[in-house]
């Protein structure tokens, strides 16, 4: 009976049951990577298990010894820190993204100034998750009074970008700072308001093979595939920019 339970726990997923790749990826890549995983599985005769969450939480899990093969984050800071601590290999910069101000379709909000108006319900990421730190970086570039007014309208510090998207599509929030790829993934329910170039942060995604990976060779091929391969195409289709 224990053997059966064990088989149940490990045997799910597509592809061949024997080789399994475990990937921790930033929440913003959910739709794109779910789209390209089956192709990877077929090509490699392996199964891929992908977990999506805030890049900071995924990094903390790896620090705590989580057995993952690949780490793909929405910034370069977190991978660089992990690399400095010897937990992952040299990070590969494989994609870029754009920070936008998202509003529900049909909203009267047009510019970033509009979200400084009192009473606006704004949702951003928490300080430690990439989307949240990019947002705070951007707001810091505004005049102090405006930054303060906008931050005063923040009603939730979500742990990952999909939480922000959820609050927007629910209709609970008036505006939120997300990636342009998230607006695309929302299938028309959200409108993206692009930010002035001078405010726009450099959003670069980094990925690497985890040092203690069980499938290092397979992991390497996955990471490379994020830059040039099926997954790279999927990311492009979703609106991610190419590697810098």
């Amino acid at each position: 009976m224990l053997a059966a339970a064990g088989a149940l726990l490990t045997g799910c997923g597509g592809g061949s049951g024997s080789t399994r790749l475990v990937v921790s990826a930033a929440a913003s890549m959910t739709e794109a990577l779910n789209a390209c995983a089956p192709q990877f599985e077929k090509a490699e005769h392996a199964s891929v298990k992908q977990s999506f969450a805030g890049s900071d939480v995924l990094a903390a899990q790896i620090r705590q010894g989580a057995r993952v093969d690949v780490y793909a984050a929405a910034n370069t800071k977190l991978p660089d820190q992990l690399h400095a601590d010897g937990l992952i290999g040299t990070p590969l910069r494989f994609a870029t993204n754009e920070l936008v101000l998202a509003v529900p379709k049909g909203s009267t909000i047009r510019t970033i100034d509009d979200v400084a108006r009192p009473g606006t319900k704004l949702v951003i990421g928490s300080a430690t998750v990439p989307i949240g730190s990019y947002t705070r970086q951007t707001l810091a570039k505004l005049p102090a009074a405006k930054e303060k007014a906008i931050l005063a309208n923040v009603r939730s510090d979500e742990p990952d970008v999909k939480g922000i998207v959820g609050k927007l599509t629910q209709g609970a929030a008036d505006a939120g700072f997300v990636y342009v790829t998230d607006v695309r993934a929302a299938n028309g329910r959200l409108t993206a308001i692009r930010l002035p170039a001078r405010l726009e942060p450099r959003v670069t995604y980094g990925a690497a093979v985890v040092t203690k990976a069980k499938q290092p060779a397979l992991a390497r091929r996955y990471v490379d595939g994020l830059d040039k391969g099926d997954c790279a195409s999927a990311l492009r289709s979703a609106g991610f920019g190419p590697a810098p």
Partner: protein, 268 residues
């Protein structure tokens, strides 16, 4: 078979396994935190905010659950009516819903785009991003725990006691307060403990329904998740404080049960 033969050994082994599985993670929390960490956690403003928020929202939630759930459970335990089985299932349903599903359910009901969202809005009630929203989420996920236990406790009360109370001149309402509740108290207390534990630990539905903002909606579980990525030790320390608070509450409930059993309840 001798008593304490191989069957007894299997029982003991299973208990040892269960005990280890349950206590080691809890012990590990305290193993990592020094008393200094715990104290400094308590001194950290945002941790205190989270603790205070958790206690407030749980207390309000429990008050609602007890006030509304107790009479409801009594009705379900003592009367039969058409469709009763369905009603009982509906009441118990949130019990088996994963927290995320509970969050979705709440959104679909009273969220801004929910079926009752318009009515809630028209009434001037704000639930998203508010402490009230947290209370709604906690009440939704925890009430079945209490109502179920309360139903069992009321059903176990000897019917002749209520009959006796009526023949002695007390209306059914008075009999409920002076006889049924005191006699059912141990069962009610354990139901309350379960509900309270569930409320204190609620995460997913709260995050989805009310969001996470310090002092307003970021309860201890959400604060732990927030800290986990950057300051694991702070997360541990906050967890330790929550465990200690939960243990204290559980102990208090046990004392109430013990007191009631020993007859400490005075009906004056």
């Amino acid at each position: 078979m001798r008593r304490g033969g191989w069957f007894g050994i299997v029982l003991a082994l299973c208990l040892a396994l269960a005990l280890t599985f349950l206590t080691v993670p809890v012990a590990a929390i305290f193993a990592h935190s020094t008393p200094r960490d715990l104290v400094s956690t308590l001194g950290d403003r945002s941790s205190l905010d989270a603790l205070w928020l958790s206690l407030r929202t749980t207390a309000v939630s429990m008050a609602i659950i007890l006030a509304v759930g107790t009479p409801a459970a009594y009705l379900l335990a003592t009367r039969s009516f058409r469709g009763k089985a369905l009603v009982v299932t509906l009441v118990e349903l949130p019990l088996v819903l994963p927290p995320a599903v509970a969050g979705i359910a709440l959104l679909a009901a009273v969220g801004p785009s929910g079926i009752l969202g318009g009515a809630v809005d028209a009434a001037g009630i704000e639930l998203s991003f508010t402490t009230a929203g947290v209370v709604v989420a906690l009440t939704f996920v925890s009430s079945p725990f209490y109502v179920r236990q309360a139903m069992a406790a009321f059903a176990a009360v000897d019917r002749s006691l209520l009959d006796a109370s009526r023949t002695l001149g007390a209306s059914e309402a008075r009999g409920f307060l002076r006889v049924v509740i005191p006699v059912a108290l141990p069962g009610l207390a354990s139901g309350a403990a379960l509900a309270l534990g569930r409320a204190l630990g609620e995460f997913g539905a709260t995050l989805m329904f009310a969001g996470s903002f310090r002092g307003v909606t970021q309860t201890v579980p959400l604060a732990i998740y927030d800290r986990f990525s950057t300051d694991f030790d702070a997360a541990l320390a906050l967890s330790a404080v929550l465990v200690a608070v939960s243990a204290a509450i559980l102990l208090a409930v046990k004392l109430v049960q013990g007191g009631a059993a020993l007859g400490g309840w005075q009906a004056e």
